[in-house]
């Protein structure tokens, strides 16, 4: 990481910037209690609930892989691909408490061959790409550290 670049999220409001223990920021309905990701501030998606208000809430840092893949070719813009391009994995991870499956990139260096449906994962932050002034951070799924709360 360069000292001179300012570190900014790739998208505003989706995750915290705590580099050691980041969390996704979801939304929770103040009335029925259901969860939403990506976050939004209004309109509960539960058709049985007429609540207008959704509140920001941190989501579980740990979950299990629902499925996964690896991008062997660079996705088109607006994805900003490194040159030369390095294949990277993506995983859809099931968060038990929230009942959500959240798609994310997988941490640099962890490839599809290292993954399995049902595997425990944890949320981390990684550098997506850089420009002249910024380092853009993105949430990623990484294999859970042994002994973490994911195992329980």
């Amino acid at each position: 990481m360069s000292e001179t670049l300012s570190r900014v999220p790739i998208i505003d409001g989706w995750f915290t910037d705590d580099i050691d223990a980041p969390t996704l920021i979801g939304a929770k309905c103040s009335q029925c209690g259901t969860f939403v990701f990506p976050p939004r501030s209004s309109d509960c998606p539960n058709p049985n609930c007429d609540s207008i208000t959704l509140d920001p809430t941190p989501l579980s840092r740990f979950g299990r892989i629902w499925s996964y893949t690896e991008n062997c070719y660079a996705p088109p813009l607006p994805y900003v691909a490194a040159e030369p391009y390095e294949p990277y994995a993506l995983a859809a991870v099931e968060l038990a408490a929230e009942g959500l499956v959240v798609l994310g990139r997988v941490a640099t260096g962890v490839r599809a061959v290292d993954l399995k449906v049902g595997m425990e994962m944890q949320l981390e932050l990684d550098v997506s790409h850089r420009d002249a002034d910024h380092e853009y951070m993105v949430y990623v799924w990484a294999p859970a550290t042994p002994g973490s709360e994911a195992a329980q």
Binding site: I10, I11, D12, W14, C29, C32, G33, T34, F35, V36, F37, P38, P45, N46, P47, N48, W66, S67, Y68, T69, E70, N71, C72, Y73, A74, P75, P76, L77, P78, Y79, V80, A81, Y88, A89, L90, A92, A97, E98, G99, L100, V101, V102, L103, G104, R105, A112, K116, V117, G118, S128, V138
Partner: protein
């Protein structure tokens, strides 16, 4: 087989699928004129034009019904334009069917055509549209369409023991089915090794597991049973639309579907027993008053080889996790009990989005009439189509004669 909600399919027509980059309306005209000729209906007698939109060809694509009516020569027919991504053609048919069954018109032209760019589909619109989920999934994740196809494929492998050879076998089957289809773009027999030797695009899917994007057009002339009777003298042997299932999901959509970044939450409302893609065909079965056991053939959306296997289960040909066994047993190959994608499917066509759901119905019509030379499913009486349009558009049509 008839009821008071049947409409007749008088004629069908297509422009062959390919990759030429021409004005999409050129293809549409060929398909429209072929469908009109097949129906023996004059363009000036068409009362309603239901266009399926293309979003990659500027304004004319957004108002497809009007665009085609103008190109055929304004005839006073009313027009509609439907967009439901891959389900656009089914939505256009649904619109024409509703007009006919409501008695607002007697005979309608349903039409879709496309010209597609090369490579991955990217978000439409350009620029930084940070609130657009389609922009978000590409920018934040690099989640191309094949990423989602691959998630479903990988799940089949890890959950049900599907193999790369199973996926390749779908391509092999469809490549043989489409060999003699004059409208297919790819008419080359593939063997397992061709697929396994093609480069991995989105692991575990290889280039030949994933359908191409194509140019093409399809059209049909549909009418009330009364109109058909007057036009033909009787309705014997006519292909009838028995059902159009265009259901959207019921909350919570607990399966991560293209192009979503997360599923709905099951924390408060449990996942429905029958998930969305299972409801699409079953809504059509319910309308038609039949079940999967009555089906002689199916045209399903093989955006990837593995997704064809998912569809076997969604349309009720077998239970979850049993699709590989069904494929291996030959049931879904021409000559088997329920051939799937006798046309060759997207494997041989590539996807021409607004035309694709219509082309599926065209194939059923040719099959049920016994006109599917070189790929005929003998004795077919009832067929079903199934596909899924992005953002919750189900699409399933049942045709019987």
């Amino acid at each position: 087989m008839s009821n008071d909600r049947d409409i007749a399919i008088l004629g069908v027509g297509m422009h062959p699928w390919g990759k030429w980059g021409h004005d999409f309306t050129e293809y549409g005209m060929v398909a429209a004129r072929a469908a009109l000729a097949d129906a023996q209906v004059q363009w000036k007698d068409i009362q309603y034009v239901a266009g399926a939109d293309t979003i990659r060809n500027g304004y004319p694509g957004f108002v497809a019904g009007a665009t085609f009516a103008q190109k055929l020569g304004w005839n006073g027919a009313r027009v509609s334009s439907s967009y439901a991504a891959c389900a656009s053609g089914a939505m256009a048919l649904d619109s024409a069917r509703a007009q006919i069954l409501a008695g607002f018109c007697d005979v309608a032209l349903v039409i879709g055509a496309d010209t597609t760019p090369k490579g991955f589909f990217a978000p439409v619109g350009g620029g930084d549209r940070k609130h657009d989920p389609d922009w978000q999934r590409f920018h934040v994740l690099g989640a191309t369409n094949p990423v989602y196809f691959a998630l479903f494929a990988r799940r089949r492998m890890d959950m049900y023991g599907a193999t790369a050879e199973d996926f390749a076998q779908v391509k092999v089957k469809n490549s043989r089915h489409g060999l003699n289809n004059p409208n297919a773009r790819f008419r080359k027999e593939n063997v397992i090794a061709d697929v396994l030797n093609s480069p991995i695009v989105s692991d575990p899917l290889r280039l030949l597991d994933i359908c191409a994007t194509s140019d093409g057009a399809a059209a049909m002339v549909v009418c009330s049973m009364d109109f058909a009777r007057k036009h033909l003298g009787n309705t014997d042997g006519l292909c009838r639309v028995k059902a159009v299932g265009t259901v959207a999901p019921t909350y919570p959509q607990s399966v991560l579907e293209l192009p979503d970044i997360a599923s709905d939450s099951t924390a408060v409302v449990p996942a429905p027993a029958r998930k969305w893609k299972d409801t699409i065909a079953f809504a059509a079965y319910e309308q038609a008053g039949i079940g999967p056991e009555d089906i002689d053939l199916a045209e399903v959306y093989d955006l990837s080889t593995a997704l064809e296997l998912d569809w076997y289960e969604h349309i009720g040909l077998c239970a979850e996790g049993e699709a590989e066994g069904l494929l291996r047993s030959g049931v879904t190959t021409i000559g088997g009990r329920v051939p799937v994608n006798a046309s060759g499917g997207l494997a041989c066509f590539g996807e021409a989005i607004p035309a694709q759901a219509i082309s599926q119905v065209c194939e059923l019509v040719w099959q049920l009439r016994g006109q599917a030379t070189g790929r005929q499913v003998e004795g077919a009486r009832v067929g079903i189509t199934a596909n899924q349009g992005l953002f919750g558009h189900g699409s399933s049509v049942i045709v019987a004669r």
